[in-house]
Amino acid sequence: MAEIQLQKVTKRYPDGTEAVKQVDLDIGDGEFMILVGPSGCGKSTALRMIAGLEDISEGDLIIGGERVNELGPRERDIAMVFQNYALYPHMTVRDNMGFALKLAKEDQGEINRRVEEAARILDLEQHLERKPANLSGGQRQRVAMGRAIVRNPKAFLMDEPLSNLDAKLRVQMRTEVSRIQQRLETTTVYVTHDQVEAMTLGDRVAVMRGGIIQQVDTPRNLYERPENLFVGGFIGSPSMNFLAARLEGDTIRLPFGETPIPDELRGRLRGDGNARDVIAGARPEHFEDADVEPDRQGLRFRAKISVLESMGSELYAYFDVEQGHVESAELSELAADAHMEDLPTHGSGDTQQVVARLSAASSARPGGEVNMLLDTKHLQLFDPQGGKSLTVE
């Protein structure tokens, strides 16, 4: 077990492109750190640099107090779980899990003892003599985990380990991974593009974009206090709604009405008091059907529901807002990552689609109008230039 420190770590390819730029990251002993971001953001490259599978172009990588830039993967004492598991197909599960110990010249009795212990933790005991080809996807995934935990390494590195599982199994294995990590208390760096995995698993989450870390924080802080537009848009599902807004004196003018700056925000709002354009971010759950909660404070307006999705416990209501469309590099990148750039609902003309999470008790109907309420004290405001948050210190 050990701390991992990245100090100004950069990965530059021979053609000059930088996959990872000046990344600083301190991962504490026993911490579960998630690297999350859209594809191509450099998260996997960063992980592979920690593993020693990629050279570090600049900066220092320190594991357990020792600079390991020049050490090969075998000298770093780390274990890695690959996205496609990378099980050795010619070896049984037992040999797969014991391979590292065998290379380390442990005696056979000790290898067997540790492999069987890991198999017990992962519920693989009855599969030890089978070959990977005869295992199901979930079992292969567990073998890959087992191969990492038998070694008792300084750190686990996981590269999207659950992305090849089907949805239901993924949720199961997610809790499994969490349970194992809490039990072993081994420093873990976990790469994923799935923000739900990031939010549920990590002690802390590092959101990356274009090789740069945008924010490192606890899942809760990332959700409630995103430092920029990108983090706000990336974390949360359905994602945060962004609307063009204007700050005038003590009021915020939103496409569907004006509201005084709430006290909660006034203290934090920077600026010189001049009127300025901003981007307002509102999470879906901060909307509500005003008829369901008549006493709640907030901005009230009428909305014409275009699509209604019922989740049973809640409703997702989609409605269009005139003159609310916002353009920003960060948001188009998020849209591109979700393969949404071609959808007509996203950025057509000047209307912006907004999604609201309503109580199941709401009487909203598709095509009908509803009295909507926006709880403005949770409103996030961002600078249209650069996307920095105006509401988070």
Partner: protein, 296 residues
Amino acid sequence: MEAASVSQPTQAKRRKKSGAVGSEPRTPWWLWLAVAAIVIFCLLPFYWLINISLKTGADLSGSDIVPPSPSFDNYTSIFENANFTKALRNSAIVSLVTTLLGIVVGSFAAYALARLQMRGKGILLAIVLSITTFPQIAIAAPLFRLWADVGIYDTLIGLVIPYLTFALPLSIYILVSFFREIPKDLEEAALVDGATHFEAFRKVVVPLAAPGLATTAILTFIAAWNEFLLATTLTSSPSARTTPVAISQFTGSSQFEVPLGTQSAASVVISIPLIILVLLFQKRIVAGLTAGAVKG
């Protein structure tokens, strides 16, 4: 149009018929006939060889399909011939050494070509492969002069070297494609597990490329075992002569008799190791060993 509408009912009938027998479509009779024809076509010459090898004396000039008085005299006589047994030994040594060196050198070279980042990789592979297009006859005479000067004329090593030259390009080419198939993640997993690059190669890559290695080994062995042209050019005495050359130099009881019986018997004998080899390696040659390595 008309033909189609006429053929439809018969097709439907046939489908019903096969459906009644089982879900598997039945192999049509003409396919079996074709298979039988091909098998006979391929095996008849070998049968004839065995047929002749069991005949002696006057029977040899006959064309009986079954030897009238089969005897193993030809077989006993070739094994009493010291030149033949010596040649068998030479052939075994030359073929095995060529195969072994070919696999070791070939797998190293192929791995480098498949994995390492280097410039001119494609050109290098093309040059290597172009060697196989050289006609052997073109290098036989120069090689004879060169080997005589160097002093390895009429030695076993003098045969191993040119055999390697001709065997390696194909071996490398086959192995490169096998190594490319092996997911790079497996090697990286081995490296993270604490293996050196060579350990990763030996314990993960080589076992997975085993079908490819078996294929190249068997091709190299067969080529070296059967080779005649260079063997006859580069040897002059029984000490280095290989079996194909030795068989060609069998003599009959008189100058005018062709030693057909003994030659056939010897040919049958030298075919046996090849048949055994192919049967042994057959299972390994069947690919699909990498199944289950990655998500599939």
